[in-house]
Amino acid sequence: MNAKDHVAAARAKDRPTAAKYIKGIFDEFTELHGDRCFGDDPAMVGGVARLGQSYVTVIAQEKGTTTRERAGRNFGSAHPEGYRKALRLMKQAEKFGRPVITFVDTAGAFCGIGAEERGQGQAIASNLMEMMMLRVPVLAIFIGEGGSGGALGIAVADQVWMLENAFYSVISPEGCASILWKDPARAAEAAECLKLTAEDLTDLSVAEQIISEHEGNFEKTFAFLKEAIGSFIAEKQQIPVEELLRERYDKFRKIQ
């Protein structure tokens, strides 16, 4: 498959969104709402979930499934209040010692008037800072689109896992082609150059693991993730916090 095919698969309308993952992986999930500053952003979902005997905090970008739901969730592009809700729930997780599992699926943080006025840049920046030193294990799973700073805003993690068709990119292939070559039609070429596939990014040490989609049988993927997340938590909880934080810092520190 070419990079452009992965991009198309990641954006496909019938691809499972975060809600399906949460339902398929966790034994129970209680959604918690609001950033306590401005509002509740439906593009960013969060709450407490149970996985066997352990409780975790789940943060997810949700694109929605029906047309009406998609519009209501702003197609998974969060406003600053979404990032602030995510941070509030991560700090809550830290307080109660719950690992944080995030599901990334966004074309990018929303670009709009309200988003600028309420500090989209500041909201993402403070997530990057706080996540780096969050004193609980953090795992980010890329399930579809990983659009630039909007994805990274919930993905400063001990490990990044990517579904085999997920992508993670500094800019959309269309945006890149139109800026560089003034021709959005060359997006396929840009996708190739940007090295945005799960395979490219494990090679570049941006991601740690590629998750099989079992040829579209996502129930199998969920079952695998249930096991794998359980092992991740068990393993990371063995590590003293200071060491966990040092390893997380070093993981990003060495990218140059």
Partner: protein, 287 residues
């Protein structure tokens, strides 16, 4: 030439010839000695502009300043010591035409990358300093940019120095793909460690500070100042207009609106910056 006189400007961006006609015809100034201020559209002597720290003497518009001019403007004489001056960008992904662009940026800016780092004294206060260079690929953040800023914060943490940073950036550098984006997390981690160790960080946001730099170390300072009318945003006005297909309210993304919305502490004109920075550094001195 005659033809040009009757040409109507197509839009606001295209300079009108009207301003030039006002000038007495006999004063024939070679173009390079004069600069047309993008604010008031009047011609100013380039030498006057340089003496005034690139602030238009007519309208007060802050034009872009290069890193060396900026350092000269705020540093105590001969106090700047540059670190990692030879680190220059490479092409980690083999991106088409990127090598040529890097070389062109070096020629245009006379810098090896989009940020200059080192130590300095400002009003006798020692500090670690970074200054971003808008003439180097619009200050975009490549891996070397992120590495130099990270090293500077690590150095400042170790030495107990405050950090002063001038930002100017179009955001992440797409030719370095995800390696560029990762610099946002890396620099944020270094700022966080520095901050947790009690370090004081003052940022001055200059035109333009956008994208990945706004969404990382620009907005992570203890005190955030900005230059008048500087564009400071996550997404630029053109991107927003294309996304929402609406005309934007005037002033959106400008320093004055960020001050009003509570995202920066103060707007500090260039001629007051040295005094302001020195005062803030003194207020946070630990010795």
């Amino acid at each position: 030439m005659i033809k040009g006189l009757f040409k109507k400007p197509k839009n606001d961006l295209e300079p009108s010839v009207a301003g030039r006609i006002d000038k007495p015809a006999e004063v024939n100034i070679p173009h390079e000695l004069c600069t047309v201020c993008p604010g008031c559209k009047k011609s100013v002597f380039s030498s006057d502009l340089q003496e005034n720290d690139c602030v238009c003497p007519n309208c007060g518009k802050h034009l872009r300043l290069n890193t060396r001019q900026r350092i000269h403007m705020i540093a105590d004489p001969d106090s700047f010591r540059e670190f990692w001056a030879d680190m220059s960008g490479s092409d980690p992904l083999g991106f088409p035409d990127y090598e040529e662009k890097l070389r062109a940026a070096e020629l245009a800016s006379r810098e090896a990358e989009s940020v200059v780092t080192g130590t300095v004294r400002i009003g006798k206060n020692p500090a670690a300093l970074f200054v971003m260079e808008p003439a180097f690929m619009m200050g975009s953040m490549g891996t070397v940019t992120g590495e130099k800023i990270t090293r500077l914060f690590e150095y400042a943490t170790e030495k107990g120095l405050p950090v002063v940073g001038f930002t100017a950036s179009g955001g992440a550098r797409m030719q370095e793909g995800m390696l560029s984006l990762m610099q946002m997390a890396k620099t944020s981690g270094a700022v966080k460690r520095f901050s947790d160790a009690g370090g004081f960080y003052l940022a001055v946001l200059t035109d333009p500070t956008t994208g990945g730099v706004t969404a990382s170390f620009a907005m992570e300072a203890d005190v955030i100042a900005a230059e008048p009318d500087a564009l400071i945003c996550f997404a630029g006005p053109r991107v927003i207009e294309q996304t929402i297909r609406q005309k934007l309210p005037p002033g959106l993304g400008r320093a004055e609106s960020l001050l009003k919305n509570g995202f920066i502490d103060k707007i500090v004109p260039r001629r007051e910056q040295k005094k302001f920075i020195a005062r803030m550094l003194r207020a946070h001195r630990k010795d």
